[in-house]
Symmetry: C2
Subunit: 248 residues, 2 copies
DNA sequence: CGCCAATGGACTGATTCTGGTCCATTGGAC
DNA sequence: GTCCAATGGACCAGAATCAGTCCATTGGCG
């Protein structure tokens, strides 16, 4: 009514970015995905105990019944196992499968056009997070936490490398103090995680990445925001290039 | 079991960023919020027609029944009105209320600790978006789209300024080509929108912002990514400072 | 004028999710 | 040895949501 001609100039149609899904299709499938990704991201290692059902249900904002349904599926898939009684709980039994190129291609197809979307999004989020983290005055605990994550990553055996890598980068996200930012970074890592897990790890790449990780930590701890941003960008672009290389 | 001592060093507790709510409490309330914010953001002006119920329901991934419940609420609140028949639809009748300082404080209290979270998140997202947009090779249509948004903003009457401002910044987000990024920016704008709407508009600020908007567009169109990032950061920090000033 | 397509309006049965309650099991504390 | 608190296990009534169907209204087109 006001400016009908404008409609033509719009990228897709009114509200393109606003009118996206209010919720994902299914609460219990989403819960499965979250838990599984938390495990794949290395937040819970083999043998770790997940939070109690009652707590986890509150965190995920779903009913305990729905959560239990999800846990039952994970149990049947052999990813977790439950023990009753005090000091019982649900324990992680999942182990990372070996990287596999056909898995990579399949995972890439699942993502489809979302791949570039996710890579761009990740770049923006993580470079921004590094910069923000470098600009904050960190407490000694926070500094120690970051260095611990880096040390864990440096010492990680090959089969735990990617998980430690995720925990390292999530630690940086947490240091920004923005829950929204940390949440989005975690979510985007999840989206890309299957792909990253499927990339064979080459010594030369790991060594290169290791230098970059150290440089990022150094930049954050010395509050050199510009360097933190730049090195993070290089680091992520290297991974993205590797990924595109294996796919193209 | 693996490293119990580590738990102490964690920022909050395992999975802090991962185990966030799977879904917001309520589909129809969420739908109301989305539509209302789309209107407040200026995506639909007074008199505009919203997408047809059947389309909108698909976009929001909710059933048409739930959407209709939301629209009924908006109708009762006097924000929209519906007309049947071909060339009918649901039309926006909402008008922006005048800015009001007590509204500002109330809105700020609603956000609470989320305020700094949202400001940080917005800064990361939007500076990143400007940089990415500047690094892309834009089509003529896209360049024209961006310039159109800027021109609209420059010409905007006071009561439509904030809406045009949102549309301008959302346009930049769309130019990144990352739907996730554009979606997050829209969402964060929504979270802050009530606050921004409540800030009285001062001529000097508008003039300053206008220069920055022009500089951002110039930087994007000349593919000067570094400048795009820097000016966007200055621009957002100015708004944030203004906001903190009114609140502190 | 009559048809038709696009739209909002309304109903219904099935499905999912919730919130609550109670039970079963376990290992430590006393 | 007994008790107890924390945990998983199970069930249910009701609410929310969905998918599908059909109706009512409207304005343009032939």
């Amino acid at each position: 009514m006001d400016e009908p001609a404008e409609q033509d100039a719009r990228i897709d149609w009114p509200g393109g970015a606003i009118f996206r899904p209010v919720r994902t299709g299914n609460a219990f499938e989403e819960a499965i995905e979250r838990i599984l990704q938390a495990i794949k991201l290395g937040i819970f290692a083999h043998g770790d105990r997940l939070p109690a059902e009652r707590d986890l249900a509150v965190r995920l904002n779903i009913s305990r019944d729905t959560l239990r349904e999800a846990l039952r599926s994970l149990q049947q898939a052999g990813c977790v196992e439950s023990r009753r009684g005090r000091y019982g709980g649900t324990f992680v039994t999942y182990r990372l499968p070996a990287p596999n190129l056909s898995d990579l291609r399949r995972a890439a197809e699942d993502l489809g056009a979302e791949l570039e979307d996710a890579l761009t999004y990740r770049l923006v989020l993580e470079t921004g997070a590094s910069e923000r983290a470098a600009k904050r005055d960190l407490t000694d605990d926070q500094r120690a936490y970051l260095e611990r994550r880096l040390a864990d990553l440096e010492a990680a055996p090959a089969d735990a490398y990617r998980q430690c890598d995720s925990r390292f980068h999530l630690a940086i996200a947490e240091l920004t103090g923005s829950n929204s930012l940390a949440g989005s970074i975690a979510e985007t890592r999840m989206r890309l995680n299957d792909l990253l897990n499927a990339i064979p790890m080459i010594g030369r790449n790991i060594e290169h990445a290791s230098h970059q990780h150290q440089a990022i930590v150094r930049a954050i701890l010395t509050q050199d925001a510009e360097a933190a941003r730049r090195v993070t960008e290089e680091h992520l672009e290297a991974t993205a290039a590797l990924l595109r290389g294996f796919l193209g």
